[in-house]
Symmetry: C2
Subunit: 323 residues, 2 copies
């Protein structure tokens, strides 16, 4: 039984590889770019990058890639058998089986695969801001919203392994069109992409006059402009961040009703704006949560593992699969 594992967090632009102990200590890490205009069979170009990261870590620490436990976290729909059924942000890898690809490239025999939001949830549950919380939800606010659900102390993988795609819960049945083809998905309102969408909408409606003047046009105002201006106290930007916080709370409140979650861990790129979002979101929960007054206070905190959560969780999956 190995005492260490490699965890890989593969995103649309970068892949992070970490070497992790059973106690969750990171011994080493490598960051690489994921290939963009990948040709050839699905996932092969991406798998080559991962294989190189794994080999480098193995060599540096005198480990054998053939027996080393390896966990791969990926965005999208990861099947229980390890195949990536669908990955909107990693098209070139859609349909690929990374356990098979890494066996071909490295002879690796102990490769496990899991959705990246689920990985983050497992890592926070084991070593982070959800430690020992038997019922909590990990919410990753990036371009979209990913996540992972821990219920009864276990990850909710669901029938196929696709559990935790909370960003595609519709909160506005006939609302904004989503990249998934649906309408009104939560992530169109409360993610980095949601902020960008609302920023353009508000700017075009004339509700961001100062930022529009500064940027030289309504279409040029970015989500980053809004978060920066909001942290400086510009009221139009503060108002828009409160709107995003309201939508964030709306989705969280739905998860409270469905799962009776009392604890949320917020991660992902937009969590850098946590100071602007979470105080308002907590305030809105009071109105939005079913039976709020009958519950203990609902905890909404930021990830403690931050950018490492996904890779750490992928390593955890690999370690847990060890016989």
């Amino acid at each position: 039984m190995s005492d260490v594992a490699v965890g890989l967090d593969v995103g649309g632009t970068k892949a992070l590889a970490v070497l992790v102990t059973r106690e969750g200590e990171i011994l080493d890490e490598i960051k690489s770019s994921t290939p963009h205009d990948a040709h050839g069979p699905a996932g092969v170009a991406t798998a080559r990058v991962l294989a190189s990261q794994i080999e480098t870590l193995a060599q540096r620490h005198g480990l054998d890639p053939v027996t080393l436990p390896i966990g791969v976290g990926m965005p999208g729909m990861v099947r229980r058998d390890g195949r990536l059924a669908f990955a909107p942000n990693l098209h070139s890898a859609s349909g690929a089986s990374f356990p098979e690809l890494l066996r071909d490239l490295l002879g690796a025999t102990a490769v496990a695969m899991e959705n990246d939001g689920n990985c983050a949830a497992l890592a926070e549950f084991a070593w982070g801001a959800g430690r020992d919380i038997e019922n909590f939800v990990m919410v990753t606010l990036g371009t979209g919203i990913g996540g992972g659900i821990i219920a009864n102390g276990e990850l909710v993988r669901g029938q196929n392994g696709f559990g935790g795609e909370i960003g595609h819960m519709a909160v506005e049945a006939r609302g904004a069109l989503c990249g998934c083809g649906g309408y009104g998905c939560w992530e169109r309102y409360a993610s980095g992409g949601g902020l960008a969408r609302l920023t353009t909408q508000w700017a075009l409606e004339g509700r961001l006059p100062t930022l529009t003047a500064r940027s030289g046009g309504a279409q040029s105002v970015s989500g980053e402009d809004v978060t920066r201006a909001a942290s400086e106290g510009l009221s139009e930007a503060v108002d828009l961040m409160r709107e995003v916080a309201w939508w964030l709370a709306r989705g969280l409140a739905n998860l409270v009703a469905i799962l009776d979650t009392g604890h949320f861990v917020i991660g992902g790129g937009l969590s850098v704006a946590a100071d602007l979002l979470l105080p308002s979101a907590r305030e809105f929960l009071e109105d939005l949560v079913f039976g709020f007054a009958k519950r203990p206070p609902i905890v909404v905190i930021t990830s403690s593992l931050t950018v490492h959560a996904g890779a750490l969780g992928a390593a955890k999956v690999a370690l847990d699969r060890q016989p």
Copy 2:
């Protein structure tokens, strides 16, 4: 260890008590009215009715209420310690602890309590239309929408025991006002109450001309009028039932995204209209479910335990609590 238990399903108007074996066989049953204008301490009037049902069943079968396992299923927020924190449809019992009340009235020592939707889910999982399905959701379409979630082969009770209140997931963030004080809750669109609300709305908008003429006024058209006319093929009624089916599918699709549920069991009063609702709902799922094409077909079937599901599940909770 007892081989039988009493299960009670307490609703806003009726209480059903069943005597059940470990195999889920119903040996006997009693139906009573629940008291309406109850005075005195919370829950006492209701508890007296239940105590009388339990005593009658015990006497008929030579059982001792003191040691008999008793399970009580109730609508609303049932805490893990057995207290009914909040029951919008059973106000007089809000705040009561039925294990305590039944101990006082009967000397009963083995009383367990659970939310009624959770009870129904447990019963369908053990003996019904969800048997051996490790991940499924029970959806009870009554005046509102209740439910229970089975994930990883276990009931999702959540932090406090309030899990499965799926009817209070908002599907239209600034939509119709709900009895819970929130806006846009799923149950305002896809339950018996939702049908009634949409019926009045459509009638006032002139979209139910035939039914309005028959009833003598827009305000007089009922949900039952619509289901009856729809089953007779009246197109305006068929259209409205399709609208309700669309909303039903909208909420189901959200649960698929969140939980990766591939199996739904539909119960409750409105499930008598299943023939009118479910074929359309299944059709709408194709558009509404995230990544529909990457999943195996999603099963949506009616409860096989029908009106007994809640009481059977309450008995199951009691049997499972036995040492």
